[in-house]
Structure formats: structure tokens, C-alpha cells
Symmetry: C2
Subunit: 121 residues, 2 copies
DNA sequence: CGGAATCCGATTTGATACTG
DNA sequence: CAGTATCAAATCGGATTCCG
């Protein structure tokens, strides 16, 4: 597919194999993935740290989302062979590239929150 | 809560009422919401148009997600009293403000797709 | 045309207990 | 500490039927 095509591809499936919007949503759209990534952007985190930082998510979902992010080459898992065990998750290059997306996301949330303040006051 | 606090709030619940990341994910994080919004950003769409543009989603989920976006003041529903009926969905001001978020989202997807090309070639 | 209502099976998510 | 295993609950999808 030529570059000009997938750059603007908005077709419905199955013609959307290279639609950037659907691609991003497929990779980052998991229920907890962006929230997990928001913490990994601040630096590498251990499994227990993430569990504490995102208490809404269960252990099962946390490990499941981390595994999927690993398969999609967004995060990398590092095991330190020691007792007690230590495992760290850190972003790959593609993971770090979500930074601008997050800045836009945070900007939108701030604007929305300010409206909420006005409405509920 | 002072502005400086919620701007950077990364606390775990229940201290995160004003976390911009969690706010955005709560409002826009529905399974199909961002995909629906990506089409509404191009202009108002009728119910049937959205159904055709996003064939992955069932009628039930489409109407459900649209209702939630309406409750969160992201989209507005306009009924034209005529036969046959015509209903249009268009973005509110807060809905239109997701544009920068989408540009970042599309940019990330393009970068990720290029890597995929390299890997699968 | 643009929905609403219902039933039902499949998938996803969650709670709890347990392990190397 | 960093997960697994198991079972229950919630959500989602698909089909069908009906309505203004």
C-alpha cells in the first residue's frame, strides 16, 4: 500500500488494515493500557509498584495487559535473578513515543475538568 | 482543589478525582468512542452513516456509546422532524477539542505502522 | 429511517485463594 | 515479590422483533 493511502485511510474493514486510528486503538486501546503507560512514562516500574499505583485493576488484568503490551513491543520486561524476585517493566522506543499523545490527552482532560468545575458549582 | 494539584495529580483512587488522565480515559475510553469520534470530527453524521462507517460495532453498542457521549456532553443529537426520520450527531465544543488528541494518535499509529512494515518484510 | 426491547451465548473482567 | 489458578459476574455481540 502506498504511503499516501494509509496516511489517510478511513475505510471500513477489511480495507482498513493500515488505518492509523484503528491501529493505535488496537494496540493502546485496552481497558487499562494507557493508564499503565502513563506511569511507565515516568520511568521503569516494578510489578508491585504498578499494582499500587493502579489499584482499580486486578492482578490478572494487570499482568494480561502488560503481556499484550510486551507482545506489541511497547514495553519490555526485565527479570533480575535474585531473592526476592524483582521484575521491572520499561518502555521501548515505540512506548516512549506515546509521550505526545499523553500530553494531548492530559490537555483535553484538564479542559474537561474545568468545565466540570463550572457545571457542578 | 488548587489548580497546581489536579494538573499533575497522579494519585491512586480515591484521591484521583481530578486526575486528567483518568478523567479522559473515563470519558473517551469506551471501547468504540474514539473510533466514532474520529468520524464525527470530519463533520456531522447520521446514525446510518456511522453504522456503515464502523461496521465492527453492533447497533446496540453504537447507540449505547452515542448516548454516553451525549451524557458527557461530547456529542449532540439533533432530530429533524420529517418522514422518513433523520437524526444527526455532531460534536460539541468539548468534542471538537479532541482534535489535537487525534492528531497525536494518528501520528503514533503511522510511526507504529512503518515499523510493522519493516518487521513483516 | 432510527431506533427500542429481549433473549442468549460468547467473551471479558473481577474476586479470591494459592504458589515458586 | 511476582505472579497462577479457578470460578463467578459483568459486559458484549448477534439475531430477532417491534415501533413512530
Amino acid at each position: 500500500m502506498a504511503e499516501a493511502e494509509w496516511k489517510t485511510c478511513r475505510e471500513a474493514p477489511p480495507l482498513n488494515a493500515f488505518c492509523p486510528v484503528r491501529t493505535t486503538l488496537n494496540v493502546l486501546g485496552g481497558k487499562w493500557k494507557l493508564l499503565i503507560l502513563s506511569y511507565l512514562l515516568e520511568g521503569p516500574r516494578r510489578y508491585g509498584e504498578l499494582k499500587r499505583l493502579v489499584p482499580e485493576i486486578t492482578e490478572k488484568m494487570l499482568i494480561q495487559e502488560l503481556r499484550e503490551l510486551e507482545l506489541d513491543a511497547i514495553v519490555q520486561r526485565t527479570v533480575y535473578q535474585q531473592v526476592p524476585p524483582k521484575v521491572e517493566y520499561h518502555l521501548t522506543e515505540h512506548g516512549r513515543r506515546v509521550q505526545p499523545l499523553f500530553e494531548a490527552l492530559i490537555g483535553w482532560g484538564q479542559g474537561y475538568l474545568q468545565r466540570e468545575q463550572v457545571l457542578t458549582t
